[in-house]
Structure formats: structure tokens, C-alpha cells
Symmetry: D2
Subunit: 426 residues, 4 copies
């Protein structure tokens, strides 16, 4: 792919962001691109229920939501046959290139967007240059548009190289809700992978910087709490209400106040709240979507225990009930030195790469850890690579954007590392 | 109208609840009923922009919302010509019956529903008897379906009586958002009204009880607060966020903690909250719809001042901005003795009425006070009549329902009082 | 007593304020004054355990506190014999004047001060005129210095009048903690009282105004909550703490947020808080002294129930225990019309009294209601009289003071009413 | 000193705990011990204003508090001449041993206790064995009694050794309030120190374990906030109050909710709160003593900024003022490898030491960092040594105690390291 091709694909995906398990257009676009560029060279191209272990998908949205995005993809011109295979939230794909004897190398890229509105500030380049999100309330605010582009291009590059072995690229859905990796980690496709690379762009590293091995993934757990009280006329009988919003507000205040822990970093966020029906009705229901994280699984469990205590007591304080639904979870993981040193070497020789960090901490979470652990438990190696990019707004904010030059750096480093892995069988 | 007619009309309205300014079907149904029952006997029948002073409508919903309900009404078979006159939220009607010399008597009934889901418990009669709400998320949980029915029937009854004078019935939209009465109070229709009656069913009084004059309306004021902060990755950079949900939760906790006041009753309610976009994003926006009330306008103003202080400080605490949009307001009012004694007398002679209370306190708010004050300021009298009904659930709750026998009591008392007013010109 | 005598006694008491059950000097000063002015004319003068039913004393302070104030009284020169009779918090006195046949009239005055520091602002008259509190942290901020003075003077005045019957003056301790009246209401002294008057100065009424009968006493209940958690090094192991101060702060926020009640006024106050030991230790204990009130006893019970729920849940939220100790309570009461009309008549004829209100609402609480109810339950009458006084600061604030002219108004009205009761036996 | 001497000295100090700047008895006891054991062998023994730079003392208590503890020390039999030199909070001592040519080695031990009540549980050894605290509300809950003992013994041991050089032992007051080290770091005594050792016992390491070099000191900052509102009668006029306790509770809730930071550990604690005067008075004042910490000084500054914002907004929310008084602060620091390796070597050869950790993180704060930085800035080395001890309760808790066997380990390792430093001049 030419540099123009890369920009063009990335911008088309950026314009059409689709949140977790709703990547209908995105998957189709990737499949089209692979078929037109690689055609019969691909040994296998799995989409739909074949691509993942469906029963392990987590954090699936409701039917209405799935249908809405499905229909949008149809309207956008996605081929009906392909679309039907994705129906019900079977998004994502696994592409396999067989190139003779050698190790099986995996590359994982995630493809989903976030449920947030993109900035329309003229200083925001996607707005100025005409590739701002065309999907209301959704945005590629974490660079997965670039990841998908890298995945396609690396396949093409390896197909043209003298790599010996097998390359599998996992186009993974639903990373943002910590929902997709597990279903790929439980599928048959991961079983024979000897070395797995995963990639993320940005992460506060500037263009020209590569982090060979990222560690410090926070274990993460999502949950949803529904508070149920009793409504009443807010003017006539406030005392007859059991106020679910008051319970939720008490919970939010105290969730952020869970004590810090000496064993390492913890996190808590009340990310989505809603409740009540009208100004003059004491609210009888409220909903809270939250997440907790910990540097280790134990720390995540500590946060979960304290969170449940807070939710339960806040409900009780206002004579409400609370139902806490556990959500998706991901463990932590580490990058293996064998792969880290290969990536560092290759990066050091890559044009445009000015600085190589051996290791850095993520300080966030990633469900790639499911895939990394699966490979490591099978005796293989895994490595999570960071590709620096100048990003004006922070990850997950309305003004996030990338420096498109860094897409090329990612492709060069990853393709180079895959070739080296083919040779060295680490 | 026969008792069956009354039940049938009330249940049809109950089945088709429409919230404030969205009473398209409801208005059309009332107009149809009036035309088929009274036809040319009506001197005037105002609908659409003619029925009210449009620029004084408060708390109008957005266009998308209006369109959604408009289209639902069309689907339900409302006549296109009539519907067009209501377009843009010009709901409600004023019907005028001229019967020779005599005073102009007004009767105000409100017709809107609440934005809440009706119970589907089999013990809830509308569910059991098949007239539960067919509009998702909307419900007649305050008896306005009965009020509209009473309005139609009283017009018919007076048309058949020997009442001398003019009767105007105000089918008022948008009471629940305190949004409709002002636009009728500012219209020409109220100017020549000498005596105004308003009516409410229930209010914790059982079937067979009539309250001749209700007082103690709490002055009320609505507001909407939008908190704006800054999003950030909740795992990666929680410190970079400015958390709008945390600000809102702090506000909710402290709003309910505004000190009680020695001068009389006050109220506060955070009726609707929402905020945030995803579990892993520090929320950059949150919205709060609240109301405050006071036994006097001064007490309401006290609550408004304290509320603004809480909202402002809560935003500042979390480095957010807050924009507070004032909403609808209604004053307090009192029932005039001249009318109260007439209503009490008539009620005392009405079959089925077992107990008459001269006076009672509402303890809630009502925008009927705008109309009462308008008439009183013109030198006329006003009286707010309570019609007892056994109601299993409280007002504004999912199991609210009425005893349909009380509809007849309301019609008898009001029609009787109007006839007496015609004779006595109080 | 001359006007100068009145001012002199009131100022001496003002200078020596003693909180509940610590009125050693105050009681002694009253006893001295009575003995020197009335001597053998008094049929009985009860002090110490004889004056009240000791086992019904509520809200007694600890021994250390009692000893501290006892010793201060000794240092101030109180006679040892008398002091010994008061030991252990048996403060207050009952003086009985027998003047032949006739009804037994009671007059109740309270004598305790508040635990607060008096203003030393030169604009505060007690500071400017040299009779500011000499007891650190205590102040007559509610006029009980004037009440005690009135009690003494009325006795003297009746002794000089042609009143026929018996007069008992109850110099009651510990009103501010709602702790003293019950022990006098349970004593034998109240049993034969036919008519009881109680008096309060100020209450936002100006000098020259008399309220013949005060009603609207809020029922009140005190409580003390002790939160117990677990300490930990705040830097080293914050997660090992169970934070009692965090629990208490959550409780305070939610106590003030207990829903208002449609049946009438309620109150809640977290009046005293303390907790923790050092900046670098997670607090393992915290204490909260609170009170709730209600227009009726039912409303007070509603507030108690909600308060207990808040305290319990706040403790649980932070994995703490809470021990809730119920404190003193007082019911509500009403003034009997028979006495109200006598007081109103007398007040109307009293020089200096410019305005007489038949009735007014207190809007606060008073344990005089125990005595009023005791007399009423025995078939007698009771009446709570308000004596207006210009007071620059509000009751219970650091700048409260009275207009000393109003002391005379109180004496004239009460003595006049007692004489009239003697004649009319209402 | 024999093992019995060590236990005896430690227990005497444990029995007589004195909080920051009040170590009158403690200092005197140390001075006595030094004089009786070393007599003229000490080149210098500085106490009082000579021992430290008085104007740099931080977090001094008030005069009343100083006087109270001063008098207690006098009562306990401290020599008057010595006591006078300590008057006004000039506690602590610096002892200097000159032993010919060689480097100047410093050893810093802290000597103050905590303001908390010691457990009287029979399972708590100091209670069972009769050396529980005899100072009400004070306790050696962090092992400084052992540190002082180690300081005395190391001096004696070095005096008996063939160490060549100068040894200065800093018996530092007021570590717990982060108040004493700065005044010693600003004194002349630190200027010529080439190598500084500091020591702490416990820190969750068991008996037999030595940490050669501790790092990860959290920078810390204390502050005190006074909220001022306006009092009012809680029953009569709650709306006239400006509630300082409500403001403080809001602040506490939101302080603990300050966002965690991706750059590293942060801490916040509302360690002491108090407010209000009586149950029936709206509180007009409240006080909060808090601390914040950060892995770096920048993180501490982040916490300070957010804390000030929370305090200011919480006051404003309840119409109160807040005055924030900055308190003591300490920076972070690291142990120098040159000394760490010496300590590790010596420890490895010390009988009773079963495990040596090169490095560990403190996870708390220490004002020893002032002294360490002063030496390092002068071109010297510093090292903070951890001496494991089995401690049943956590540091700063009521059941903290040490395994007295570890006192000997500390003395052996430190004396051995000092001798080696004398030889190797690292």
C-alpha cells in the first residue's frame, strides 16, 4: 500500500467509527481491502461466528442497538451476503497467510470506536480536513482506525516478503468494552500461535518513538448497577419516595473515595449515570456504569469488593435496592524479553524512528492481555508494542487525532519484527 | 354522556398518554368528542395558535421529540387538517358555549401525561382490564385523563341545562412541566372570565369526598443544569479529567441538604440526571433537571438562590463549568370564599358525595395558579376543587389509577356549581 | 425588687453562665436571693435531690465535667453546705409560697446556659458594659438569666400581693439539652398544680410585645453516634484503615438530605462532630451529636428512623461500626385557651406592653412541654407565655442579648396573671 | 549495654511517650544515659537551642500544650537545669564522638511519640508486661522508643571500637508531624557529615530481615483548614445558619475523591476533624487537619492544588469562609548505592539476620529526607536502613509493638556499617 492508500483507508475508517460489536462497516471494509489486495494469497479469512468463540463475547449491546448499526452499515452499501454473516454482533476477522515452514506469528489489532461525539472545532484536523466522524455519538478517539490500517498493510507487506512461516492477523472487535479479546483467546485460531505481537499507537509517546515492550497493564473490571426505589410526587409527598438518584449520588461520591492501596495503582470511574423521569417525580430508578482497575488482579479484586460495599450501602441508606451486574474483565500481562529485544533491534534500524524505549508502563488496561496470556500459557511468547504519534488531544477525548506518518513506522517495525521472528524462531 | 361513555373516553385517553406539548392525539380526541356531541352549539372552539399565547409557552421539548409524537398521532389516525393546526407543540383547546346573558364562567382541566412507564402488574387495573398505556415511557399517572373527560362532559351537561351566561372550558396542555397555564393566562380567552373553577381528582382523598376549595399551592420553579468538564482515559490519565459526573453527584447530595426554612414548607428534587459516555472515560458532561418549591414565592426564591450556589460550587470543586437554564415557574394562589361556599353547598347535595371539606392544603404545585391569579387580578373569583377518588398508587407512581365512579361526582359538582354561579353571580 | 436589683441579678447570672446540670453557682445565687428577700415567708424551698426525680434526669454530663464546674462554683464562693446538696448534678430548685385557700399555680423558669463562647465585640453590650461571660466556652445565649430573675421577682411580688392560693416556682435546670423538665414533671411537686405558666423571652418578638399563648412546639430527640473503624498509617497502608471520619462525613451529608415531609415541619442538625487523632493516621473513631425535630411526635419518629438508617449505612459503607445512643426527648404541647385569655387580658392592661398576640408558633422545641402535659393530664391548665425583647443577635448566637426593660414586662404580666388565676380559678 | 539494658531503656521510653516538640522527659532520659555511659568520652553534647536551628522548627504546638508536657516532665523528676534548656519546645539532642582522623558519619534516630491512646488489651504485650503508656492519649506506636535506644547504644559501641573518624548521632524530635528534621538539616551540625545513616524499625518486615536501602519516600504536606459560618437555632431558624460542619463534611467526601494520578502514588487523609458546639445550634465553626502525599514533589503539589480547590468550594457551597493554614512538608529522597552496599554486606554477616533486601519502597513519608538531601547536596552520601521486627499491630495503631530482639540487630548492623565507613570512606 502506498502512503496515500494508508491515509485513505485510515480516514475512511475514521469517518465511519463503530462502537464495540457494531463494527459491521469496519469489518466489511477490512475484508474488501484484504480480498482486493491479497485475493487468493490468503490461506484463510474467517469472519462471523468462525472468527471467534461466540459464547465468550462479553458486554454485547442489546438487539435494538445492534439492529440500528447493522442497518446503518447496509445503508452505507455493505454487501448483503457479508453483512448477514456478521449479524448479531459477530464482528471482526482473522486473516491467515501461509508461507511455508516456520513459526506461526500472530498480530493483533483492534478495530472498534468509542461512544463519544467528535469535536467539530476547526483546529481539530479531522474536522478541518473533512474526515470527522459521520456516525453521531461515535468516534475513533483511541486510534483503532490506524491499528486496522496497520493490520491490513502488514499482511500485504509480509505476503511480498521472504518470510517463512504462518502469519495470522486478528482484527479484534470490542476492545473498548473489554469485551472482544476473550472470545478470540478462546477460539481455535490462537492455539498454534508461537509468537504474538499486539500494537497500540500514541499513549503519550511522540512520533518517532517506539516502545518495544509495554507492561503495566492494569487489570480491569466493569460493572453496571441498577438502583430501584419508589417514586412519589416531589411536591406532594417527598417522604413517600425512595430516591434512587440520591442513592446513586451517594455511591458516586464514595466510589471515588475508596482508599488508595499501598501495593500499587488502582482506578475507579463512574463512567455513565442516568436516572429519574421528571423534575416533579422522586426518582425511582437510576443506573450507573462503572469500572475499577488495579496494577494486579488482587488490587482489582480489592476495588471490586469496596465498590460492591459502597453500592450496597448507598442503596440501603436511601431504602433502595441495588442490582449489580458484573461486566467484562481483563487480567494484566507482561511482554516477553525474547520478543522485546527483537522489536527493539528492528525499531533501532527503522527509518523515521528516532528513539527506542525498551520498556514502558501502560497505566491503562487492554484486553489484548487475554490473547497474550493464552499464547504464553501454550508456551509461546507475546509482546505489546507502542508506536509513538503526536496526538493533540488525550486518548478518549473529543480532540484525539494521530500523526499519520506514524502509521508507516508501525508497519515497518512490525513487518520487520515478523520477518526476524520467522528467521530466529525465538 | 352515559356512564359508559365517560369510562370509554377516559380509558381511550389513558391508553394514549402524551406528555407536555405533545398532546396531539389527546387534543384531537377532545375536539372530535366536542364536535360530535355539541356540534354547532359551541360558539367557539379554539385549537392551535388561537387557543393560547404561543410566546408564553414554557418548557417546550425539542423538535425531534415533537416530531416523534406528532408522527405517532398521525399513525393513530388523527385527521391531517387538525393535526397541522397543532404542529410545533400548539396543543390544547378552548371551547366556548354562549347561553345568553349572565356571567362568564371558566373551567380549567389539564390534559397531559407524565414521562414514566406504567406498571404491568396484573393487580394494576389498567393492565388487567386492557387499557394500560400504549405509549412507551408515558403514563396518565396523575388523573388528567379523567380531567379531560370531566371537561367534555360538563360542557355537554351545561348545554342541556338552563344555565344563563357563558361557559369557557380550558383544556390546558403541559401542566406537569408547569409550562402550559401561563400561555392560556396570557391569552385573550381568560380576560372576560368572572369566575374560574379548576379541578383535580384524587390528592389522597377517597371516593365520595369533595374539597370545596384547595389552597396551599407551593410556588415552584424548574431548572436544568449542564455540567461541562473534560474527558480523559479513566485508566491512563484520570488526573487529566475534569469529572462532570463527580460534580453533579456532589451537587445532588448538597441540593437535598439545603436547610429547611422556618417560614414554611420547601421542596427540592433532582428529578432527572444523566452523564458520561463510557465506563473507561472520565465523564466530561452531565445534566441535571431539578425543581424547587416553597409555600410562598419568597421561600421558592430562597431555594433557588441556595440551589444556584450549590450547583456553582459543585462545578468549581471539580474544575468544571456549569450552565444553569431557568425553567418554568408557577406562583401560589388561594381559593375565593365566594366560590368555595357555592361548591361546598352544591357538593353537599350531590348524590354519592359523602363528605365535604371546606378547605384543604394541596402541598404540591399547580400552574392553574397562573389562571386563578389572572382572573383574580381582573376582579373575578377563582376556586380549585378537589374530587376524591380511591387511588391504589400515589400520584406520579407507576400504579396510580382512579375509581371511575368519581368522574361522575366531579361532573355533578362542577356542573351544579356553574349553574349556581350563573344564577347568583358571586 | 427595684429595677436596679433586677438588672444586677440578671447581669450576675449572665456573667456566670453554667450549662446543663452544672448550674451550681446559679442555683446557689437563686437560693441566696430567695432567702434574703423572702426568708421565712417561703413555705418550702427544695434543692438537690428533693427538688426533682433524680432518676429521670436526662443528658447528664460525665463526672469530670461535673467536678470541674462544681469546683468553679466553690472557687466563686458558694457556701459549702448548699453546694454539697447539689453534688452530682442535682441543680435547680422549687420554691413554694402558701397564701391560704385557692388554686395551686405553677411558674416554670429555666436557668441553664449554652456551651458556646460569647462575643467580645465592643458592639456586644455585655462585652462593652462589663458583664460578658466569665466562664470560658459558656454563655447565656437564650435569655435564661432573665428567666431566673423573673422567677425570683414574681415570688417576691406575689408574696406582697393579696393572692390567695399556693404559688410554686420551678427553677428548672438543663433545658438546653432537653434534659431537666422530665425530672421535675415526674416529681411530686407538679402533682397538685392546677394552672401552670411557663415563660420565654425574645423569640423574635420586640420589646413591648407579649404572646399570650405559644404553641407549635416541635417534638425533639437528641442522639449521639460513635463510629468505630480501624486506624492505619495514612501514607503506608491507607487500605488497611477503616475510616471513621469518612463514614461520619457521609452520614452528615445524608442526614441533612433526609426528605422533607408533607405532614409538616421537620428538622435535623449535626451539631457537634469530632474524630481522628493525627494528620497521618487513618481515623479509627468519630463522634457525632445530632438532633431531629418534628411538628408532631410522629414526624419526629420519622426523622429518627431515617437518621438511624443513614448512620447505620454510612458506617457500613466504610466498614465501620456505629453505636447510636439515644439522648433526651421532648414532646409537643399546646397552651390552654382558659389561661391564654387571662394572660392576654392582663397583658393588655400592663404599662409598657404595646401589642398583645393571642397565639404564635414557637418553631423550636422546649422541654417545658413535659411539665405542661403533666399538668394537663392531671386535669389542669397550662400556658406558655412569650415576652418580647429586642435582641440584636439571634437565639443561640454569640451576640444574643436582651433589652432589660422587658424583664419588668414579664414580671408584671406573670404576677398579674397569677393573681387573676387566684381569683378566677379557671 | 547488655540486652537487659536495651530492653529496660526502651520500655522506660515506651512508658513515657511524648508527642512532637514535647519530648522533655525523653530528651532528658537520653542525655542522662549518654552522660552516665560515655561521660567525658563525648566531645560535644548539644541540647536545647544549640541542637537545632530553632526558627526552622515546624508544626510547634501551642504554649498551653508545651507547658502541660513540660510540667509532666518536671513531675517525673527531670533535673531542673536540663529542663530549662529545653523550655519552649527545644527538644532533641546531638551527640558527637571524636575518634581521630577519618570521615564524619551521621546517624539519625527520631524520638517522638504519637497522639493516640495505647491498647489495654491483655493480648497487647506492653499492657500485659506493665510498660503500657502512662501518658494519656500518647503512645509509641511507630517504634521511636527503639530508635532512641539504638542511638544511645551505637554511640557506646563505637566508643568501644577502633573506629577512626567522627560520629554524630542526631536524636531528632517531631518526626511524626514532619516538623523536626528541617531544623536539624538547617543547623551547623549537619554541614560536615560525609555519610548519613537513618534507621527505622518494622515497616512490615519481620524480625531477622534487613533492608539495606529504603527509597520511595512520599513527599508529604500537612494543612489545617478552619471553616467559619454562622450559628443559628437549629429548631427555630435553620435557614439563618451557615453550616460549617456541613461544609467540612462536603470537603471530606470530596478530598478522598481527588482523582488518582498516572505518574505515581498519591495519598490524602482527613486525619482530625472537629466542629460545632451543641446539638441544637447550627455549627458556625469546624476544623480539619489533613495531609497529602505524592511519590514525587510534583505529585504532592498536584494533591495540594486539588485539596485547596475542594476546601474553597466546599466552604462556598455552604456560604462559609475557610482559612487554610499550610503545615509542615517534607521532600522525597533516595539511598545512595555506596552506602547501601556497605550496609547490605555488613547485614549479611550479622548474626540473627536471616534475610537482606538490597532495596525496598517505604510507601510512606519521613522528614529524614531533609537530612539526607542536605548531606547529598554537600556531596556526601545518605542511606535509610530498615530493621525488620515482628509487629502485631500496624504502625500507628493501638496495638503496635516490636520484637525487642530486633533492637540488637539494628545496633549490630549500624555499628558495623559505621566502622566499615570509617575504613572505606565511601
Amino acid at each position: 500500500m502506498t502512503a496515500d492508500d494508508l491515509v485513505s483507508l485510515r480516514r475512511d475508517l475514521h469517518r465511519t467509527p463503530e462502537p464495540a460489536w457494531r463494527e459491521f462497516y469496519t469489518t466489511a471494509r477490512i475484508v474488501d481491502e484484504l480480498e482486493s489486495r491479497l485475493g487468493d494469497e490468503l490461506a484463510e479469512l474467517h469472519v462471523g461466528p468462525d472468527a471467534l468463540a461466540g459464547e465468550h463475547r462479553m458486554a454485547l449491546p442489546g438487539d435494538a442497538e445492534l439492529t440500528h448499526w447493522y442497518e446503518q452499515a447496509r445503508t452505507a452499501g455493505v454487501d448483503d451476503d457479508l453483512l448477514e454473516r456478521l449479524e448479531g454482533g459477530y464482528t471482526g476477522a482473522v486473516a491467515v497467510l501461509e508461507r511455508g515452514e516456520g513459526p506461526t506469528v500472530g498480530l493483533r489489532v483492534d478495530i472498534d470506536a468509542l461512544p463519544r461525539t467528535e469535536s467539530d472545532d476547526p483546529d481539530h484536523r479531522p474536522a478541518a480536513a473533512g474526515f470527522r466522524s459521520e456516525r453521531e455519538g461515535a468516534m475513533h478517539a483511541c486510534g483503532h482506525d490506524a491499528h486496522a490500517t496497520i493490520g491490513v498493510s502488514v499482511l500485504e507487506r509480509i505476503a511480498e516478503s521472504d518470510f517463512s512461516g504462518t502469519l495470522k492477523v486478528f482484527f479484534q472487535p470490542a476492545e473498548e468494552v473489554v469485551g472482544g479479546a476473550k472470545s478470540m483467546a478462546e477460539s481455535e485460531h490462537i492455539r498454534d500461535v508461537d509468537s504474538l505481537l499486539a500494537v497500540h499507537i500514541g499513549l503519550d509517546h511522540p512520533t518517532g518513538e517506539i516502545v518495544a515492550g509495554i507492561d503495566g497493564f492494569l487489570a480491569v473490571s466493569h460493572l453496571e448497577a441498577e438502583f430501584a426505589g419508589e417514586s412519589a410526587h416531589a411536591g406532594g409527598h417527598p417522604e413517600q419516595g425512595r430516591n434512587a438518584v440520591q442513592a446513586m449520588a451517594t455511591a458516586v461520591q464514595n466510589l471515588y473515595g475508596i482508599p488508595r492501596h499501598n501495593d500499587g495503582a488502582t482506578r475507579v470511574n463512574a463512567g455513565v449515570v442516568e436516572g429519574g423521569s421528571a423534575a416533579n417525580v422522586i426518582p425511582d430508578e437510576a443506573r450507573l456504569v462503572a469500572e475499577v482497575r488495579g496494577k494486579t488482579t488482587d488490587l482489582m479484586e480489592y476495588m471490586k469488593r469496596r465498590t460492591r460495599r459502597v453500592l450496597r450501602s448507598a442503596a440501603e441508606m436511601h431504602d433502595c435496592e441495588v442490582d449489580v451486574e458484573p461486566g467484562a474483565e481483563a487480567p494484566s500481562a507482561t511482554s516477553d524479553e525474547a520478543l522485546v529485544s527483537i522489536v527493539a533491534d528492528v525499531a533501532g534500524e527503522t527509518p523515521g524512528v528516532e528513539r527506542v524505549l525498551e520498556r514502558d508502563e501502560l497505566g491503562g488496561s487492554e484486553d489484548a492481555t487475554f490473547l497474550m496470556r493464552a499464547v504464553q500459557e501454550n508456551g509461546g511468547n507475546a509482546c505489546y508494542v507502542g508506536v509513538g504519534t503526536d496526538h493533540p488531544g488525550g486518548h478518549h477525548t473529543a480532540t484525539f487525532d494521530i500523526d499519520e506518518a506514524s502509521i508507516g513506522h508501525g508497519i515497518d517495525v512490525l513487518a520487520g519484527a515478523i520477518e526476524r521472528i520467522g528467521r530466529e524462531r525465538p
